[in-house]
Subunit: 123 residues, 2 copies
DNA sequence: GAAAAAGTACGCGTAACGCGACCATATTCT
DNA sequence: AGAATATGGTCGCGTTACGCGTACTTTTTC
């Protein structure tokens, strides 16, 4: 059930003991979660998602993207596109006619809109 | 802990009994989840999120948006921007210098990129 | 206003959880 | 290399807390 825990923990180079300490539980208890031998209470599950910087839905195998997800769907146009939300930032792609906009196309769009806006305010 | 269950269930106009039946558990068992008296096993928690069309993270109070979230961060440029993913679609905004792109600006960007791409392929 | 359904609370039997203890393997240190 | 320490993994026991039936109150339906 929670086999994804092991991967995420190792990606952070944490030991079972360290992780268990941060959760305030015994090493054997946490090991039980990773092996699927036991299930954690919901409060511990939330702490795990916090520690490992992912979603509970990912830990449970309900989604496949380990990155946490945004609360607001706003995309800022810089050189790189960023999806902004409260916790962190995610890379996104803009697709047009099936092909993603490359960096240069995005820059050109940005310049295009900026000059357009400047013209609209100066008359 | 799971007080959001009650809201979501009522918004679907389901009774405790009906919900419990769909989960394959006793009414009193499910009632225990809503009241916070008991916690469901993780498998049941996932089923609940499926039934109520939300995320486990929302049920646990970890995020405030009950809508499910995307699996892939891809934005398709049409007249309206859409964030595409497996389950459903979300409206998004493109922000430039703090101001969102309006529909006309997006259309102009689309036309701009299309002509640019046509030029690149025809030489 | 009776009957049915819905919501709520409790007690019992039992499944499953948390922990310490233990061992095998891997890593670190002198 | 060999001792010392840390790590990953498993097991058994005591205890927690879960699932269900049951009973009771409140609400809805006719």
């Amino acid at each position: 059930m929670l086999t994804r825990l092991s991967r995420l923990r190792k990606s952070k180079k944490w030991s079972l003991q360290y992780t268990a300490d941060r959760l305030g539980i015994a090493k054997s208890t946490y090991a039980g979660y990773e092996s699927g031998y036991r299930e954690p209470p919901l409060e511990t599950l939330k702490k795990l998602a916090d520690l490992l910087e992912t979603s509970v839905d990912y830990l449970l195998g309900r989604i496949d993207n380990p990155a946490f997800y945004p609360k607001a769907w706003k995309v800022e146009l810089h050189d790189k596109l960023k999806l902004t939300e409260a916790r962190t930032r995610f890379d996104v792609e803009l697709i047009l006619d099936g092909a993603p906009l490359n960096e240069e196309e995005i820059k050109q769009c940005i310049a295009f809109i900026r000059t357009k806006r400047k013209l609209d305010t100066n008359d």
